[in-house]
């Protein structure tokens, strides 16, 4: 840009800030650091921060900021040219035990033992696809635009699939997931997690479990495909490096496997379409869908009301980051009960929930501060909402209304997705704050 700059970053992001500066070509950028967090400080406390020290260098902060703008540049700070990052040697030779440690210590695994990717195993894995090993599959980044985008080939994906314990027949699905450019490990502080959903003939072909324990560790493809996505995100996108490319403060246990599931298509009620058909694919297409969110609530509850009403109440009182999207995972018994109550498709049920769920008063006002001011000034309907006290507000959260501040969507659709799976051993269901990201075909990678 050509202007001397002093970036200020809180101490929680030291590694992220420095690595980001380096990847953008300024490894010696003069970043000044502040205590963390800053958002909860009063103005007076913030001023005291200015009078204190940079917690990284322990030097007085304001003189450091002024130095950043005025101290003459060093030779390193004036360097130009192209640097090719070193990713290490092409191969490692050691005992199996030592190799496990090398891969683990260099953050190339999910910290569980891996299948060591020998050339022989990689070649066997590559037989799972007709694509050439050196074909570029795509790019991957921990946060596109903010973190570097790495490029990777079919061979790279195959190596990581071996490490996860996958079989050649799993490779097309893993390639399809990779080609989306979506990382399993997103850099956000909010600890994102993912769901992988398989639909179509692929599920039976590779023996995905969608019966009893459909979301648990009870089948090889469910386990290794989900695991492969996490491992390859680290190695093919530089994702999942705490403090550098991963900032999730609590992290998520779901990241180990990314909830790799398949829909129980053969138990869908009449008229209910498989998820991939809802998204425009043919029933005979094999498709993997990616969902993004944070958490799942596995609900064990025997209501005296119909399940669709119970879930409607759950949706009203459920909240999470964003608060405006949900995915319901229904055992086939729950889906059949909803069908018996007149819901002839997933869409009808989803629309019912979007129209009938409300918002708790505290949540509504906490997320609608501008409307709160209008309510206090007597503007309707907010003034009437305020008179309702603690009662649920008739504000329907679960619609795709577009980005905040963006143009309003003319006919917003329900943001509630429905997946049917499970072994029919009881009328249970799970719900969470996941939203659909994309659905992609698998067969093109066979």
């Amino acid at each position: 840009m050509g202007l001397p700059t002093a970036p200020l970053v809180t101490i929680a992001f030291v590694g992220l800030a420095k690595s980001n500066a380096a990847s953008r070509g300024m490894p010696d950028e003069r970043i000044c650091f502040l205590p963390h967090p800053m958002t909860d400080k009063t103005d007076a406390e913030m001023y005291q921060v200015l009078l204190g020290n940079d917690p990284v260098t322990n030097k007085p902060l304001m003189p450091e900021i002024i130095d950043a703008l005025t101290k003459p540049l060093t030779a390193d700070e004036q360097k130009s040219g192209l640097v090719t990052p070193d990713i290490g040697p092409a191969t490692y030779v050691d005992t199996a035990e030592n190799l496990q440690r090398i891969y683990l210590d260099n953050n190339m695994t999910d910290f569980m033992p891996i299948i060591l990717p020998t050339e022989e195993k990689v070649q066997a894995m590559l037989k799972g696809t007709s694509h050439k090993p050196d074909e570029v599959v795509g790019t991957l980044s921990a946060a596109k635009g903010a973190q570097p985008s790495w490029t990777f080939t079919v061979r790279h994906v195959a190596i990581n699939a071996v490490m996860a314990g996958a079989l050649p027949e799993h490779l097309p699905t893993i390639l399809a997931i990779s080609a989306t450019g979506q990382p399993a490990l997103f850099s956000s502080t909010s600890s994102f997690s993912r769901i992988l959903l398989l639909n179509g003939p692929i599920s039976d072909k590779i023996k995905m479990n969608y019966g009893i324990g459909a979301m648990g560790p009870f089948a090889e493809p469910n386990a290794v495909i989900g695991r492969a996505w996490t491992i390859l995100s680290k190695n093919l996108g530089g994702c999942g490096m705490p403090g550098l490319s991963y900032m999730g403060t609590l992290g998520s246990n779901l990241n180990y496997n990314n909830v790799c599931i398949a829909e129980t298509e053969n138990k869908l009620p009449d008229g209910w379409q498989p998820f991939h058909v809802q998204k425009g694919f043919k029933p005979t297409d094999s498709v993997v869908s990616i969902f993004n969110g944070w958490s799942l609530n596995n609900v064990a509850w025997f209501p005296n009301m119909p399940y669709h009403e119970l879930i409607n109440n759950w949706l009203t009182h459920f909240f999470s980051f964003g608060t405006s999207a949900a995915t319901l995972l229904l055992d086939p018994t729950v889906a059949r009960e909803a069908k018996s109550k007149g819901f002839n498709s997933k869409e009808e049920l989803s629309d019912y929930w979007s129209k009938n769920s409300k918002t708790p008063a505290w949540l509504y006002w906490d997320t609608h501060q501008k409307e709160l001011e209008q309510a206090k000034a007597g503007v309707e309907p907010y003034a009437s909402y305020l008179k309702m006290g603690d009662a649920d507000i008739p504000f329907q959260r679960f619609y795709r209304r577009g980005r905040p501040g963006g143009p309003p969507v003319a006919n917003p659709k329900s943001s509630i997705e429905i997946i049917v799976l499970g072994g029919e051993t009881n009328t249970y269901w799970a719900g969470g704050d996941f939203s659909h990201v994309t659905s992609v075909p698998i067969d093109k990678w066979a």
Binding site: M46, I87, A90, V93, D94, L99, M163, G237, L244
Partner: protein
């Protein structure tokens, strides 16, 4: 807090410690397992990493000889708190270096995005920038 330069490098695909305890065989892909040693058979495994992009080093902008009489843009990336903290910096300059003129701006877009319009304004009217990231 000590900065772990090795960690910083590793996000760029650089793995300075990766050879510890191992023998690297760069460029060889089909070597047969090595002979047995007293600690057991050695085997050869391939590097699973993809291809990080090359990095174009950018020379930093020349620094100012002093801030006296200069205009400094105080830029928030939009995270909560950055605006209030930058306001305190403006107060500090008023109290301690009154010849410095400060101008506050909120960068457009998410923290990922460039704001070419603001960059052009600062280039035309400013001498330096202090940018604050929230949290």
């Amino acid at each position: 807090m000590k900065i772990n330069r090795r960690k910083v490098l590793s996000i760029l695909g650089i793995s300075p410690a990766i050879l510890a305890g191992s023998t690297a065989v760069a460029g060889e892909k089909k070597k047969k397992p090595a002979a047995a040693l007293s600690t057991g058979f050695k085997i050869e495994a391939v590097n699973p990493k993809g291809m990080p992009p090359p990095i174009q080093l950018i020379p930093m902008a020349p620094r100012l000889s002093s801030l006296d009489g200069k205009t400094i843009y105080l830029v928030s990336d939009g995270f909560a708190g950055a605006d209030r903290f930058l306001a305190q910096i403006a107060i500090w300059f008023q109290k301690n270096m009154p010849s410095v003129k400060t101008i506050y701006r909120l960068k457009a877009g998410s923290y990922f995005d460039d704001d070419p319009k603001l960059m052009a304004e600062m280039k035309a009217n400013g001498n330096a920038m202090i940018m604050a990231y929230g949290h």
